[in-house]
């Protein structure tokens, strides 16, 4: 114990001495930048994700909704309140609303104070009046209605309408509801009623078609805990849902946003890791002598490892904490900057990114320092007598294995998604391996080719003589530039592609329940208004009875979503062509001439939820008769394209004989509400679903994520610069010594400078080449596998990658070695003797 304390004290003294002598600055800077970028992204991604989720939750009017077709247990709301969550209650049911002589089927929504918990309810004093955010809910004894009700009934604000047994005056016009996009039943004109008035209407009776809801909002962790508490309590016909459950578009957009942000974080981790690797290696190389002398003075190998490891742990911890602090400050700056661009209110960051940052910083430092450190402790003691005894083995490729393992672990951890993490790491590992081989071969080739000019030959000879170090430098720089290219060019291309996947005229209205005999009239309706007829998709509702002749019941599944799916009817469709935004991931689509009609193509996500594979036989029940077919393909569906899509599709000939209706989606230009009114008037049975808000939401998310990623890029750039500096510094001692010898032998400064430039130019071109190839490949993989968009290979990327790398490395290399040429040779010889 005392020995431990003594060693700790000694390690701290050694650390202080090395720090004072400037030996540790590069290592510390690398760790600080690494941790700062990881934590900034972490803090920020955390906050942006919270904000995006909260913003998306506006569409639900809450963070979580518990609903059921019978009154909900009072304990549900009580428990939420005990947990410090905000709670509101809501009932909704269809009911006739009217004045003398006319009435319409309206959707009545009964709410308690606090509604909506997320998002804004907007109201106006009169029809087409200027609207404002509602403070509160209708006063008891009054109702708020939407403009559709006013125009259908031909009434105005101040008039009274009858709802059940009550007659209530209209106080305000609803212009916008936060939760209008949720569910398929909100087609009718809206009446908003205070909870205090519902009993008097006499509409709440046994057998009424009422949907009861408890709305909950609060901190994400609390919400998750509440969800975990309530899920097992739910009875038949009850369910709990968040926005991701309710709208696949939002779910899919949120997932992509998270992927983009974690990608940015991953790239900065990789860059920072390269910087740490180079810096730690340089530190240990410079301490070869110190180790030999300490061994000579009687220190055992184990003791040296203990002393240096302690130094690294202390340094790593302190630098990581500093990095955390820098990250915290930076993300605040980011939030302020972003705050001026985006209206969303950012929640406070969580604590976990700080912890992640420290763990990442320490793990990377130890991962890259430990193998060379263990090798260092075995330095031949005889080195004190014979300087030519070089570095011990274990400092080569193998020395990086542990560090690479740490990077892999960090990537998978940070990605929070084994697939994305695995892809990114595999991409980097493959690129590194290939890059190493290519660099090795090119250096060999170029040095064989020779060339004219003593400086060029000398520069190339440098590369060849230090071939392993040169290859490492090329690979490190190549990865740095590749990460930068990925983050700049690829990022903006991917974001562009993503944005383009959701054009400004993406469908914002769904039409449901079109009857087959209405199709010609509907075509005429659109043609008369100079609009193209939207694509119609047939739809048959059916219930899933069995999988491979084994009957299914909701209770077969533990997963909440699976239960609901089995509980509900599926929407099936038939088609010969697969939709453009679908992609087959297993099996094969039947093509234009199906060999047989008893086939199903199923959406991949739902198949996974229900445990269905290609080859399984599904039996459905539609209108009392059943039909079966085999699943022959699974499709990935791009839900945030806002096109109509189906979970289950069959070829023509299987389900046409069952009662079908048609579904369509189209883009309604803003402000063209007259068209909607005319449509509803002519086809009163149609359900029109407004997804404009969801669409706007997704588009806003894309914009916000792009901005966040741009900021994070600054850190990656900084990490890239540290990599560049570390790569050059790692060979500086040797360059200094060599330049001195050369000058003593009569080489001019110009010759030496040109030799250095030749060497750096070679490194720059190789690194740029590797970077461009890697970034292109990574971009392709990310586009096709993660973001699901088509990727166009970029020629410009090669030019930009090689050009920037060449100029950057030459400029930095020149700046970094310029002083080497200015120092008096005698001074250098003494310094290095």
């Amino acid at each position: 114990m005392t020995r431990f304390v003594a060693d700790l004290a000694l390690a701290l003294r050694l650390l202080a001495r090395d720090w004072r002598a400037g030996e540790l600055t590069l290592v510390a800077v690398a760790v600080v930048v690494a941790v700062a970028s990881v934590t900034t992204v972490g803090f920020f991604a955390d906050r942006v994700q919270q904000a995006l989720t909260r913003q998306a939750n506006q569409l639900l009017g809450a963070d979580l909704v518990v609903s059921g077709d019978r009154p909900l247990d009072a304990a549900y709301a009580a428990e939420a309140e005990t947990r410090g969550l905000t709670v509101a209650r809501m009932l909704r049911f269809p009911s006739m609303a009217g004045v003398e002589g006319s009435s319409v089927l309206a959707e009545v929504k009964v709410v308690t104070a606090g509604y909506p918990l997320r998002g804004d309810l907007r109201i106006a004093d009169q029809l087409h009046g200027a609207d404002r955010k509602a403070e509160g809910i209708p006063q008891p004894g009054t109702v708020w209605v939407d403009e559709r009700l006013l125009s259908r009934l031909g009434v105005a604000v101040g008039d009274s309408i009858a709802i059940g047994n009550s007659r209530l005056p209209i106080a305000q016009v609803i212009t916008q509801e936060p939760d209008s996009a949720i569910g398929f039943i909100n087609a009718g004109p809206r009446v908003l009623l205070n909870d205090a008035d519902v009993a008097a209407t006499g509409l709440v009776q046994v057998g009424s078609r009422i949907r009861y809801r408890v709305l909950v909002s609060g901190e994400p962790r609390e919400i998750a805990a509440y969800r975990a508490w309530i899920t097992p309590q739910l009875g038949a016909g009850q369910r709990v849902e968040s926005i991701e459950d309710a709208r696949p578009e939002i779910r899919s957009a949120l997932e992509r946003a998270e992927k983009f942000l974690s990608l940015a974080a991953l790239l900065s981790v990789v860059l920072a890791a390269v910087a740490i690797a180079l810096a730690a290696r340089r530190f240990l190389q410079r301490h070869l002598d110190a180790c030999a002398i300490m061994r000579c003075l009687g220190a055992s190998q184990r003791r040296l490892v203990t002393l240096y490891l302690t130094q690294f742990i202390v340094l790593g911890t302190v630098a990581s904490l500093a990095g955390c602090f820098a990250g915290f400050v930076a993300q605040h700056a980011l939030a302020l900057w972003l705050g001026t661009l985006v209206t969303v209110e950012l929640p406070e960051p969580g604590f976990s990114p700080a912890l992640h940052g420290v763990v990442a910083g320490l793990a990377l430092l130890i991962g890259f320092a430990l193998p060379p450190l263990l090798a260092l402790a075995r330095v031949p003691t005889l080195r004190v007598l014979r300087r030519d005894l070089g570095a011990p083995s274990g400092m080569g490729w193998l020395g990086y294995a542990l560090g690479l393992a740490v990077i892999a672990a960090l990537i998978v951890w940070k990605a929070g998604d084994a697939k994305l993490g695995g892809l990114v790491f595999a991409g980097f590992a493959l690129a590194m391996g290939l890059a190493g081989v290519v660099a090795w071969a090119v250096i060999a080739l170029v040095s064989r080719l020779g060339g004219s000019g003593v400086s060029w030959r000398f520069g190339i000879a440098n590369l060849r003589r230090r071939r392993l170090a040169s290859v490492l430098q090329v690979v490190a720089l190549g990865i740095g530039v590749m990460a930068l290219l990925t983050l700049t060019i690829i990022r903006s291309e991917l974001l562009d592609l993503w944005q383009r996947s959701l054009p400004p005229d993406a469908p914002n209205r769904f039409i449901v329940n079109i009857q087959p005999d209405q199709v010609p009239a509907l075509q005429k309706f659109f043609a008369a208004r100079g609009m193209a007829m939207p694509e119609l998709h047939p739809m048959v509702r059916a219930r899933l009875l069995s999988i491979n002749d084994r009957p299914v019941a909701p209770t077969d599944y533990a997963d909440d979503r699976a239960r609901r799916l089995v509980d509900r009817e599926f929407n099936l469709s038939w088609a010969t062509q697969m939709q453009r935004d679908n992609r087959v991931v297993a099996g094969a689509w039947w093509g234009a001439k199906p060999s047989r009609s008893d086939q199903f193509s199923m959406e991949d996500g739902i198949a996974r939820t229900l445990g269905i594979k290609v080859g399984d036989r599904l039996t459905f029940d539609a209108a009392g008769s059943s039909f079966s077919a085999e699943v022959t393909s699974l499709r990935k569906v791009d839900w945030d394209s806002f096109n109509v899509n189906f979970f289950v599709v069959s070829p023509p000939g299987l389900i046409e004989r069952y009662p079908a209706s048609y579904v369509s989606s189209f883009h309604l230009p803003p402000g063209n509400l007259e068209l909607l009114n005319a449509l509803v008037k002519q086809f009163p049975n149609l359900l029109l679903i407004d997804v404009a808000q969801v669409l706007t939401q997704v588009q806003t998310m894309i914009t916000q994520v792009s901005r966040a990623v741009q900021f994070v890029f600054l850190f990656t750039l900084m990490a890239g610069l540290v990599v560049l500096y570390a790569a050059i510094a790692s060979t500086q001692d040797e360059r200094l010594y060599q330049a001195t010898i050369m000058r003593t032998l009569g080489a001019s400064r110009g010759q030496l400078a040109r030799a250095n430039l030749a060497e750096f130019a070679m490194i720059g071109v190789l690194a740029g080449l590797i970077a461009a190839a890697g970034a292109n490949a990574l971009g392709y993989v990310l586009a096709s596998r993660v973001i699901n968009v088509d990727y166009a290979f970029s020629l410009a990327l090669w030019g930009i990658g090689i050009g920037c790398s060449l100029l950057g490395v030459m400029a930095a290399g020149h700046l970094g070695t310029r002083w080497v040429l200015k120092v008096a040779p005698l001074r250098v010889l003494r310094l290095l003797s």
């Binding site: 002598a21 030999a292 003075l297 009687g298 055992s300 190998q301 014979r386």
Partner: protein, 227 residues
């Protein structure tokens, strides 16, 4: 002290060292045997490549021999493992090198403190300050090696070598990197402190003048000891 009755500090028996380069074996030391008694000062002389430095490295246990043995204060050096030899060095040995081998990141004082700190000794700073005073560098405690001249660096190295009060001091061409006047001063200092502390000294040099100041000289040629 009567050297005839002094205990043996170094006993070298039939020491040999061969290295293989490619397919040919090179004999660096061949059947070297001698003893050094406590308190003696012995010079090892010979031309470049005669095996002097290899012999010194083996005496310090910095390298392992092909054959033979070395006993330091009665302990068989090569029956110990590498860490055991390191512990023995910490206990018994001091070094002065031709190239000083000071740690560049440490001040003069810290360089001298280092062996004391590694040994876990108390009062390392006071002891090191006293030693630096003794070698005439009391005013340069906080200077880094690169701020000191070659002679000054070697004085720091001498102070460091004596810091743990070793029984045996091994010196490898201690004046090899110094001019004649500075070298002479260093040697005077080395012998003075050696006498004061009664340390046994084994000194490798090709300087005959220097070897004459030692009580005895062992002459190496072609890896063999000349009589």
């Amino acid at each position: 002290m009567d050297k005839q009755s002094s205990p043996v500090m170094v006993q070298v028996i039939n020491l040999g060292k061969q290295v293989t380069t490619g397919d040919s074996a090179l004999t660096i030391l061949d059947g070297v045997s001698f003893t050094v008694k406590a308190g003696e000062a012995v010079a090892v002389v010979g031309a470049s490549g005669s095996g002097k430095s290899t012999l010194l490295g083996l005496l310090a246990g910095l390298d392992t021999p092909t054959s033979g043995s070395v006993h330091i204060a009665g302990e068989d050096l090569f029956s110990l493992d590498e860490d055991g030899r390191a512990a023995l060095r910490a206990r018994l040995l001091g070094f002065v090198f031709q190239s000083f081998n000071l740690l560049p990141a440490m001040t003069a004082l810290e360089n001298v403190m280092l062996p004391l700190e590694l040994a876990g000794a108390r009062g390392a700073a006071a002891e090191a300050t006293a030693l630096l005073d003794r070698v005439g560098l009391g005013a340069r405690l906080s200077h880094y090696p690169k701020q000191l001249s070659g002679g000054e660096q070697q004085r720091v190295a001498i102070a460091r070598a004596f810091a743990t009060q070793p029984s045996l001091l091994l010196a490898d061409e201690p004046t090899g990197n110094l001019d004649a006047a500075t070298g002479a001063g260093i040697i005077d200092l080395l012998f003075e402190i050696n006498r004061e502390r009664g340390t046994t000294l084994v000194l490798v040099t090709h300087d005959l003048e220097l070897s004459r100041r030692c009580g005895r000289a062992l002459r190496l040629a072609g890896g063999r000891l000349q009589s």
